[in-house]
């Protein structure tokens, strides 16, 4: 076929599939994402290769990669075995500190972790968080999916609790637990005498701990869905052929569940890499030495411009998460396990356990749940605490923290700001998300439509601080500048970053409504536009609502852009910035008032997530997973 014929055929196809309405849907989605995601991220990349005079240069990349602060690791060749050594690692895993108290000598083991420089630290933290989350999440999922024991359904739901808060809030709560005179030491050292010494977890290990406790449910959800979707006859077949026990697990169950586990692990890796909230809470320790914090810390030059150093760091962060995303996506999609996509209509095989094993399972699950709920219990207790010294519980409780927060003019303005921005962003997300999901679901035959799907899903893998940097680079000094008003960029950032939740919910709704329902409307004379509004929209309304609720609540709890914009313009700052501001610049109240704000956010998050899941009932598992 000639090129001209091919082109005219393509044009005819496009003219056929796309009417004015579809074009407007496509254009608003592409325009918004171009303006507020593609161009900003492009600028991050381009600007990081600018020299100070404006030309192309590797200066900043080279400066950063040779700066021992960012990348101290050097390989050194040796004359003897093992012939090679890695140098530049500072610190040690732990330090032992002894000091005198009235009661005598006390020993504290400080878990500080090694410092390998900012870039390796980020990767190491993400790697360990992913590893721990995966082991924890998969084990839990396996136990819940494969064994029957009383209360398993309740315990399974309780173990999803960490999904209800962001690392930023969770970290505030957990910090109170793991410091030297924190709750865990009070409990296990002072009261129960189970520990021979006090343990303080700080710096990077603390970041890993917080992230693991908050992110394992993501792996768990994905693994659980994958495990119960495996056709039990496949396992039965293997048993028939003589496989059992660990061999069955290794050769059949695990490979079939792998894509689900990998998807969860991938998301955790990227969420860990882009988490800014936790390092901020542990400010003042080695937790500062990760990419997100460093970008945040030096984004503005003293002249109020965006620093090249931060831009280049954002580029590095972006490239790392991009590579991880692309690599794992390709690897996962290479293996197609058709039975996974269908979901289970069968009854999963569940084994009953002997009483002794059941007891062990309970001990394991309750142990995990004890630690997993600590951050949330911590926030709640701090929020209601009047005084809280080195004791198990606050010495007295009060509502004053909430009263203080709500009567603080700036704090209540920030709460209002967050509510307004998130509401407006949610409206945008619904319009854009429904448009994108509709095009992707209903115009599958159109060439290039997969790219649109990727465009509206990928923000989940883009670090927020990189988006924030890009938005500043693009819009500082324009009418949308955050120095004029914080609203436009915050709304834009929420919209592009949190839209995947709406898109996913709406898309799953569209996939569940038969396309013939649209088609029959066309045959009786309804145009595509009319069909969209009178047939399609009413049928997916619940999905739109649930997706919108999730997008709204994840906008409320957004940290990266919020804090950066808030720093540039206090008047238009959102709630998360106020928490940060109170945590470090607050005059009174210490962590109690930020915890009160965090508790409000957590409560809101709880209501919305549970609400959205109730709306969608069983379909919900797909919403939070990748």
């Amino acid at each position: 076929m000639g090129q001209a014929a091919w082109l005219s055929k393509l044009l005819r196809k496009i003219r056929w599939e796309m009417d004015t309405f579809s074009w407007s849907q496509l254009i608003i989605v592409l325009a918004s994402f171009t303006a507020f995601l593609i161009v900003p991220l492009g600028l991050v990349v381009v600007r990081s290769f600018y020299s100070s005079s404006g030309g192309f240069s590797f200066y900043w990349l080279q400066t950063i990669l040779t700066d021992p602060f960012y990348f101290p690791l050097r390989l050194k060749l040796l004359n003897q075995f093992p012939f090679i050594s890695l140098e530049g690692i500072r610190g040690s895993l732990y330090e032992v500190v002894k000091y005198q108290t009235a009661a005598g000598e006390e020993t504290i083991v400080l878990l500080t972790g090694w410092d390998m420089g900012v870039i390796p630290n980020s990767l190491v933290v993400a790697t360990f968080t992913t590893l721990f989350s995966t082991v924890l999440g998969f084990t839990l999922a396996f136990v819940f999916a494969k064994y029957r024991f009383p209360g398993s359904e309740v315990l399974r739901i309780v173990s999803l609790i960490p999904l209800l808060s962001t690392p930023f809030v969770g970290a505030i709560g957990l910090k109170k637990m793991i410091v030297a005179d924190g709750v865990l030491n009070v409990l296990f050292y002072d009261m129960l005498h189970l520990l021979p010494f006090k343990i303080e977890i700080t710096g990077l290990p603390a970041v890993i701990l917080v992230q693991t406790l908050l992110f394992y449910p993501i792996v768990m959800l994905n693994s659980y869905t994958a495990l119960i979707s495996v056709d039990p006859t496949l396992e039965e077949q293997a048993i028939n052929m003589g496989a059992s026990g660990f061999r069955l697990f290794r050769t059949v169950t695990l490979p079939l569940a792998t894509p689900g586990v990998e998807a969860g692990a991938l998301l955790v890796f990227i969420l860990s890499l882009e988490d800014l909230g936790t390092p901020i809470v542990f400010k003042g320790t080695t937790a500062e030495k990760v990419l997100t914090f460093q970008i945040f810390n030096r984004i503005f030059t003293p002249a109020g411009l965006i620093s090249q150093e931060a831009t280049t760091l954002a580029m590095i962060l972006l490239v790392i998460s991009g590579l991880v995303f692309v690599g794992v996506r390709r690897y996962v999609s290479l293996k197609k396990y058709a039975m996974l996509s269908k979901g289970g209509t069968w009854r999963p095989r569940r084994r009953k356990l002997s009483p002794a094993i059941t007891l062990l399972v309970y001990i394991f699950i309750l142990g995990v749940l004890f630690f997993a709920t600590l951050p949330h219990i911590g926030v709640a207790l701090l929020a209601f605490a009047k005084q809280w010294g080195p004791t198990l519980l606050p010495s007295s409780f009060t509502l004053d923290n909430f009263a203080a927060v709500l009567s603080d003019e700036e704090a209540s303005r920030c709460i209002m700001n967050s509510l307004i921005y998130s509401t407006i962003a949610t409206l945008f997300m619904i319009v854009l998300g429904v448009s994108a999901a509709y095009l992707v679901s209903r115009k599958k035959s159109l060439p290039g439509i997969e790219a649109l799907d990727l465009l509206v899903t990928i923000p989940i893998a883009v670090p927020g601080i990189a988006v924030a940097t890009g938005l500043f680079l693009t819009y500082l000094g324009t009418p949308l500048s955050p120095t004029i008003s914080g609203a436009p960029l915050l709304i834009a950032s929420y919209t592009v970053r949190k839209i995947p939740f709406t898109v996913r919910a709406v898309f799953s709704g569209l996939e569940q409504t038969d396309k013939t329902l649209d088609e029959v409307a066309w045959t009786v004379g309804a145009s595509r536009t009319r069909t969209f509004f009178s047939i399609v929209m009413p049928m997916i309304l619940l999905n739109v609502l649930a997706g919108g609720m999730l997008s709204f609540i994840y906008s409320m709890s957004e940290v990266s852009t919020g804090i950066v914009v808030g720093d540039a313009n206090h008047r238009d700052a959102p709630m998360t910035w106020k928490m940060y501001d109170m945590l470090f610049h607050g005059l009174a109240g210490g962590t109690f008032q930020p915890a009160a704000l965090g508790f409000l956010l957590m409560t809101l998050q709880f209501i919305f997530i549970v609400g959205a899941n109730l709306l969608l009932r069983k379909r919900a598992t797909a919403l939070i997973g990748v």
């Binding site: 599939e17 088609e519 409307a521 066309w522 045959t523 009786v524 309804a526 009319r530 047939i535 049928m539």
Partner: protein, 353 residues
Amino acid sequence: MVSIRTVNLTKVFGEVVAVDHVSLEIKHGEFFTLLGPSGCGKTTFLRTIAGLELADEGSIYFDDQDITDMPAHLRGTGMVFQNYALWPHMNVFDNIAYGLKIRKVPKEEIRRRVKEVLKLVKLEGMENRTPHQLSGGQQQRVALARALVINPRVLLFDEPLSNLDAKLRIEMRAELRRLQRELGITAIYVTHDQEEAMSISDRIAVMNKGRIMQVGTPKEIYKNPRNEFVARFIGQGTFIPGEVVSSGEELEVRLESGKVVKAVPSHPDVRLEVGDKTLIMIRPESFTLEPGKRYNEFEVEVYHISFLGDSQMLQASNEVENFIIEVDPDLDINVGQKLKVYAPPRHTLAVKL
């Protein structure tokens, strides 16, 4: 009421040619059926006529109007889908009235026309039911009413009865035909069920792998199959391969057993020359147990008998070939019995391979 014409209509999905240069003419008010095995492209053809798929090549005409690139909603077709496709968020009235509201028909008239059409499909008084309160048969009637109420130029049926149970299917079949005849609307019907196709259609197009194998009345297709596919797909028969040894008005065909039989070409268009490979087909009811003048004679042994009430079907063989023979239900025949059966040359059809 329109006539429909397609010229070289072609639709390709990736590597698969679903509809392959199909040229058909469907007359005013005709009930036309596309019959073929699943995956033969019949539904794709129908969807292309409805405007739900864009043809890759060729054209479609309603009367003399080229509608190949016209969007579905402007074509004025009424379509009934296999899964009924009733909108779950609307009751029966709203489902049916939807097309009228789009046409801005006055409210009073909408009410009247919906009532009329509900009477036509025998669902009076069901206006306020929601789709999930209806049985399969009732849902199908609502879907039909929704297609009829807009006075479509063409009625399109995509296996509309395949989700109904056998008894209801036969009732609805007659119902559909009655309605179509009364309203005089040109109809295209898609099915894989040959009995359904035979009983309902004015003409049938047999399709296989995207191509039209034969177009004709049910009788023509049964009595004069044009090729092996149609011969084997429609009805039952005894099939014996052979080679033409003498041609002319009447053929002589040597079977693999060496026996020579007299036969006629299966279809007036079929030309067979000496030396051509052919397939002899004899319908079960063409066999007799009485020898006739110049009849072909076969000696067979019965190995299975199906008693069907109005007839009995014998399955028999002569060690080389298998036979299906219909005999009088009163005849006393046992498995293992040897029989001589006869077939007149005019019912011994030579199918072109």
